[in-house]
Subunit: 217 residues, 4 copies
DNA sequence: TATGAATGAGTTTTCATTCAT
DNA sequence: GATGAATGAAAACTCATTCAT
């Protein structure tokens, strides 16, 4: 109003640019925990340090939050690893255990792992998003990584796999399930898993399976 | 039946005994598809062939529908198989493929498979139910079946497993994931799986892994 | 259906004529306690030993229960006393204490006393009934009794009252209030009154007031 | 104010501070008139100039409206008078008529008089509130005022009362009944009372009763 | 820009009343 | 006659969204 206000610092200068990310962060946690429908805009706002109305300055509606989560947050975190792995040399058998555990540490076990549970839960209500998530997260990343390693191992004579395509799907499933478990049943303390041990046992089992010489009856 | 009854059909018919099951059936389908919160009582009622109010004669509130689904519907369908499998004789290697595919056909791929997705999605909102589901469905059935076969195979000298407990968890996870997949991503036609082929490939991989002679580094 | 049923006693012969009264009895208690709107037909039925639907054989709807209570139950109980009192001879001063206590014992303190509270509570929603109750119960009975005694006492030179009409209203009010109190605040144990003592003290105070020789300033 | 604002009136205006009182005002009127159960939130809202949902910003549920009425509104209006009366000097006989009429004018006949009827009607459904009302409104105020005047009159030799405690209850009852009457039967135009005349006659009768020289048999 | 009061379109739940049995 | 399953019309409460401040 008065000229004075031009001098004193405005009330809400607080990192204007960080807001959308903060809001999505809050939304992610709550959506994953309670589900999309049960989560209230007001709760997201509070966790993000703003009030309900403010959210609408950055997102046109509630659906857009979920969309933002999938389309924007997801892809940003998704590229580093797969690139990294393709460059490696050496025995694929040795790479696989590392690759799986590395995947868990950089991505699978992180915050965005919740998106997998979220898409399982809400996918039917947002088919376009599910499609997108499936393509980008499941096929393009998980799947392609496995596919790459598997075929390399076969080419190098290390692995003997009959149905390569479906074996990829099987391994991919295991990876997804660790994300889902972490965000659902693992919340019951009785069932938290020792993930290091889990991945050790998994690599053990998987590698032995891949190295088989004679097909099973 | 008689000509008289054809004059005007009654506004409703009395179906006391069948109603609860019909209602739970409808609820199951909708809860699994849309999630608990998004599903309207009125929609469940309509699919069950009644009006909203009628549901409250059989269930005190919406939560009770979910509870009925988990506590009543689940257990009813859960006993036949595990008993059946324990009686078998012969090589465990031969049993495992049968057991997994049998599980999928009698239970894993049936309607109630949706409960797994449902508990993943809503577990945080109904911790007591999740606990119950985990104990009864995951541990007591899936887990124990695997545990039984695995230890039997080891005892008979067919399998060589280092970390038995976690290997059980790993295999159990795969089974759960087929249920989850069927009720989520598989809805996108691009990703429907050929389950026969999937289980074949899985048995292949798994058995080879279990039969390993030398532990991996 | 068959001829046999004509011999065996029918299922519901139970005093067909008593039903309406039993239902009204149940309704009275619940209406007075919980109010008209809060009381459910089903609860009335249960207390009367029937099921909800049966009530509609005797009363067309919920309102009719209240109407039956006021119009039928009330008047039946209302005539004996006032007639009784008018016949007495002797000093009115001696009669008044007896009359009040007698009123309390035969009517004021009985079950139907609840009607007074009920009409206070629901009168605005049933103006015709309130009018009826006011005329029949308050004016015609309470009021007329007091009026009769008061004027008789004045005529006999025992009482000196300036504003007879309003003095009647005042005394009448006291009587109504005992009924209301009994059905409301008296339910809190701390405030149950010793009604014998109450009426003693009241007669004391009232008679002294009526016998005054000199008007107050 | 300015010409600009006249163009189109806003859908609503912000009245944060006034709202709770406005809502309680509306609720009081409707609760007293129709009873708690019969009164719809929407009606209260409309009378308060808002929509139904807005009420829930200030009160968590319908019960809280009643509670707010009793616990907040009541006490605010209750202190002035009793303090005022205790300070007076002179003959108690002269004070009593004034006290009663003063009570009626400042409190007994005001809007909040409806609370008395309301607690009579709904007390059984809200026992804690009834208790509170009884203690604060009936005993602490009405009762104590009467008690004080009565004992003072006795001490000064003006009154001769045998059972002081119950005489207090009797007079207290009369006061309550005026409130109840005003909010129930008085609504029927035939029975509106001339309250000035009523209190005159009452003071007349009461004082004469209190001044009695010889106890009645 | 941010706030948070207010709206209004739902959704669950209740219950008087009807009616098939 | 009586039952109680079913209806359908409320009514309390919730919450995404808007908008005055």
């Amino acid at each position: 109003m008065t000229v004075d206000t031009a001098i004193s610092s405005p009330r809400w200068t607080r990192r204007k640019d960080a807001r959308p990310a903060e809001i999505l962060d809050a939304a992610l946690e709550l959506f994953v925990q309670q589900g999309f429908a049960k989560t209230r805009i007001e709760d997201i706002a509070q966790r993000a340090g703003v009030t309900g109305g403010a959210i609408y300055r950055y997102f046109p509606n509630k659906d857009a939050l979920l969309e933002g989560l999938i389309r924007d947050s997801l892809l940003a975190d998704l590229d580093a690893m797969s690139a990294k792995l393709r460059q490696r040399e050496g025995k694929v058998s040795d790479m696989i255990a590392d690759a799986l555990w590395g995947w868990w540490q950089t991505f699978g076990g992180g915050k965005l792992s919740g998106l997998c549970k979220l898409m399982v839960a809400e996918g039917d209500n947002f088919p376009a998003l599910r499609e997108f998530y499936f393509e980008q997260a499941i096929e393009e990343r998980c799947g392609r990584l496995i596919d790459f390693l598997l075929r390399k191992g076969i080419a190098q004579g290390e692995f003997y796999v009959i149905d390569v395509d479906y074996t990829v799907k099987i391994i991919r499933s295991s990876m997804l399930m660790t994300q889902i478990w972490k965000n659902s049943f693992a919340h019951s303390e009785r069932e938290a898993l020792d993930m290091r041990r889990y991945f050790n046992a998994y690599a053990e089992l998987l590698l032995a399976g891949l190295k088989q010489k004679e097909p099973q009856s």
